[in-house]
């Protein structure tokens, strides 16, 4: 067993610097990952112009890669998601947005499902009420038939 060598101030300083550097490095990596996530999040809202039914985030064609680079540059320049989407919309029109904008004819896409759901639930409710009411109504039945059913049930029990 040897005693630990005494640590000089220079070594101690070097250790602190190493720890600080590691902190900065991991912070930089975390920021880079966060930026990339933002890029893909925005790219996921854009339609790839030269693909079929693929977003700019999903596609690996050159043009989609280039579009993701543009998104990253614009994020670095401090532009907001809305500004970036508007940049592409200005060039490609509403078509480039995978979620149609909530205005004009596009509004139908957003409103119709809600209206459909409300109508469906209302119809179920009304029909349910009607069926329930009917189940309580006395049934118009021939007394002779009723007597026959009763006698058959009674004979079955014995």
């Amino acid at each position: 067993m040897t005693a630990a060598a005494p640590v000089g101030p220079a070594v101690r300083r070097a250790r602190w610097i190493a720890v600080l550097l590691a902190c900065f490095a991991s912070l930089a990596v975390a920021q880079q990952v966060q930026l990339e996530n933002r890029v893909y999040e925005i790219a996921g809202k854009l339609r790839c112009p030269v693909c079929t039914s693929e977003s700019v985030a999903d596609s690996s064609v050159q043009l989609a890669i280039q579009m993701r680079e543009i998104i990253q540059e614009q994020l670095n320049d401090g532009r907001s998601e809305a500004q970036i989407l508007a940049f592409f919309q200005e060039r490609y029109g509403d078509w480039i947005l995978l979620d149609p904008p909530k205005r004009g004819l596009h509004l139908l896409v957003w409103v119709l499902p809600v209206v459909g759901a409300i109508l469906g639930v209302t119809a179920l409710f009304v029909l349910g009420r009607r069926w329930q009411r009917r189940s309580h109504e006395p049934i118009d039945v021939d007394p002779a038939d009723l007597a026959r059913v009763r006698s058959e049930l009674a004979s079955e029990e014995t």
């Binding site: 030269v50 050159q62 060039r91």
Partner: protein, 183 residues
Amino acid sequence: MKARRLLVTLAVVAALGGIFAFGLLRGEPDRDLPSELIGRPAPSFDIPLYERYQGQYGDVLSLSEYLGERPLVVNFWASWCAPCYVEAPVLQSYWQEYQDTDVLFVGVQTQDKGQYEEGRAFMDQFGLGFPNGIDDDSRMSIGWGLLGVPETFFIDRDGVVREKHIGPVTPEVMERQLAALLE
């Protein structure tokens, strides 16, 4: 009561069938889009030209030098694009016919990263006389809202985009558009 129910069922089926038939028969609406640029000033770009055009037009052609001065025909193509090979001779023959007017044709090789040799072979094959350059990073494609290649933009003397043609240009398209530009 029975007849009414049948009628309602038929009406619903007919309505759904109608929507279905409309969806089937309306072609490819996604590919048949009017450009957002029509009626707007054309975006400018600076395109590095191929060597053979540099003597006459400089190393880099700045579209801004011509926008608002001369009518322009801007054609986007790629070396891998089969319809581009169909339209190239049409473009070249109209360029020959119109190069003495003030209309300028500009060819942009795009969505074709690093394919310089293929680009040169393409220009050799058709003896393209109008300036052609390469949009190596496809930024011009995005800037002009391209959906694919080939696409051709017709820009009037005021620098406003008048028309965009998707797919290979035909002599009919060229005649009509050039007549409109030179009016």
